[in-house]
């Protein structure tokens, strides 16, 4: 097995990996290699044929494939190398990477820096424990999307969708446009986790009912799924006895959450934040292992590809500079206070002079109106960001300018929380 020297090695050729690789290449990294397991780069965007991408980053409304296309072409122009059909088997803390592919066999790479950009995967039926029989016809929404949009197959004709995240909503419309009957979208929570726009354009436009605080509790059918039991749930999300309804279907699509895919991160020895399910990173998206960076859905499950790009560029820039940079100074922890589920990054090095504003991504625990997001240190309120509306389904991105950062004490942990509102 040969060993190849690489400056910046990127694991994953989706939007995060491509964004990081291009940025690294544009900022001095000479040999930048992207390793992609699928047969073409683009990641999940290749099956995202719907529009709604790029409004922030390109100020244009693109489809997922168009958004990916811009990065794939840009990668070519900037001299980023991409190896497709290549699976990363191992990432070591020493930044050694082992891969397997049919074309290149087994390869060993030694990288100056590594960017982890493996994305995320979908939660399954078993992860959320839907009881009943085990027939065919049960798909995660993303798998059904791949079959429909790339492979050219429609799973079935009569569809129930569980979960009102964006993928669930998009697939409800997609199935309807393909001529299927969509029985309804069921959502455990009292509100949808998808963008309002998708509720209007994917469900209302096609008279697809949305059933809030209702879930699928059991599956029927010996060989192919024949139907499901739906049930209303109480405030604690427990199914309410007596509310069972049988809904016939030949297909059940699950859009019940995404989980950062961190098997390789664990092998690399990076610390995982139990709140995000992704690596704990600093503002440069460096993990707890020096020289190993992470960005995109592997760090936190984003709502928008545009945010993935912003994050990947931070990681790519820092990964390119890693070899030359002085060792990092002391980092302050970012603590998650009331009303928030998580904050990324989890650590910040406040000592370093910055010109760029610091971007903080966070997710709210509950929907609320007219709140302030407060940054404090040692119990003292330091900065305040008014927000007209927050909800768990939409990431909050705060831009902290260098001027604002001057308000903060170096070397002291900062805490973020939600205050006020209703």
């Amino acid at each position: 097995m040969k060993t190849y020297e690489i400056d910046v090695l990127v694991v994953g050729g989706g939007p995060a990996g491509l964004g990081a690789a291009i940025k690294a290449r544009e900022n001095g990294a000479r040999k930048v290699l992207v390793l992609e397991r699928d047969f073409e780069p683009g990641g999940i965007l290749n099956q995202c044929i719907h529009n709604g991408f790029g409004l922030q980053y390109f100020s244009a409304e693109l489809t997922g494939t168009e958004y990916a296309g811009r990065f794939i072409r840009r990668a070519g122009q900037t001299g980023v190398e991409i190896q497709t059909d290549t699976m990363v088997l191992d990432v070591k803390p020493s930044r050694e990477v082992i891969t397997s592919s049919a074309k290149y066999g087994l390869q060993r790479f030694q990288a100056k820096s590594i960017v982890l950009a493996m994305g995320c995967r979908e939660r399954t039926r078993d992860a959320i424990q839907i009881y009943g029989s085990r027939p065919s016809g049960i798909f995660t929404a993303g798998t059904a999307q791949r079959f429909t949009n790339i492979e050219g197959f429609i799973p079935g004709r009569q569809v129930v969708v569980l979960g009102s995240g964006d993928i669930g909503l998009i697939m409800a419309r997609r199935m309807k446009l393909e001529g299927c009957e969509v029985q309804g979208v069921y959502e455990l929570l009292p509100y949808t986790n998808g963008l309002s726009r998708n509720v209007v354009q994917c469900l209302n436009d096609f008279s697809i009912p949305l059933y809030l605080q209702q879930t699928v509790t059991s599956i029927y059918g010996g060989e192919r799924i024949a139907g499901v039991t739906t049930q209303k749930v109480d405030k604690k999300q427990n199914p309410l006895p007596g509310t069972e309804e049988y809904v016939p279907c030949d297909t059940l699509l699950l859009s019940v959450g995404l989980i950062p895919e961190n098997e390789l991160s664990r092998k690399a020895g990076v610390r995982i934040d139990s709140r995000t399910g992704g690596p704990l990173v600093d503002q440069n998206r460096m993990t707890t292992v020096p020289g190993i960076f992470a960005c995109g859905n592997v760090v936190q499950v984003h709502d928008l590809a545009d945010d993935v790009t912003v994050e990947s560029e931070i990681a790519g820039l820092a990964a390119a500079g890693f070899a030359e940079e002085e060792p990092p100074g002391k980092k302050a922890r970012v603590l998650v206070g009331n009303g928030l589920r998580y904050v990324v990054p989890q650590e910040i090095e406040l000592s370093r002079n910055r010109e760029e504003p610091l971007l903080l991504f966070m997710r709210a625990e509950l929907p609320r109106r007219k709140v302030n997001i407060v940054i404090s240190q040692g119990g003292m309120e330091k900065l305040k960001f008014p927000q007209p509306f927050i909800k768990p389904g939409e990431i909050i991105a705060l831009s902290v300018t260098s001027e604002m950062l001057g308000e903060l004490e170096i070397d002291q942990d900062i805490e973020l929380k939600v205050e006020g509102g209703g």
Partner: protein, 120 residues
């Protein structure tokens, strides 16, 4: 006279906008909180339109579906009719992103274009 309501989707606030229409013509509109919201609601009440995204069959590549889109919004009631036309389309590689697949579809002034490059 007809009363209509919608939730504005321009931003996460989700304002409820209501309107009064007479013979399809907007008489009164209120509930919006910004100019963009007003514009969105006016159009949504009178002539809702949507970008259509779909796929068509394509030969010669590892993927069997070519993603396509309308290059401008189509009248909402026309979407199903356009899908029926796309279902009968059969293409071959190579195709470039932006390449016109069906020009001026159903006389709407919008073209159906490829939304990715696809080679062998």
């Amino acid at each position: 006279m007809e009363e209509k309501k919608l939730i504005c989707v321009i931003c996460p606030v989700g304002c409820e906008v209501s309107a009064t229409l007479e013979d399809g013509e907007l008489k009164d509109i209120n509930g919006y909180r910004c100019a963009q919201g007003e514009e969105y609601a006016r159009e949504e009440f009178t002539s809702p339109s949507r970008i259509l995204t779909a796929t068509v069959w394509i030969k010669g590549s590892r993927v069997s579906q070519l993603p396509v889109r309308s290059n401008r919004p189509l009248p909402r009631p026309k979407l199903e009719e356009v899908m029926a036309l796309l279902a009968r389309e059969k293409l071959e590689v190579p195709i470039k992103e932006g390449q016109i697949i069906i020009e001026n579809i159903l006389g709407t002034g919008a073209d159906i274009v490829s939304s990715r490059d696809l080679e062998k």
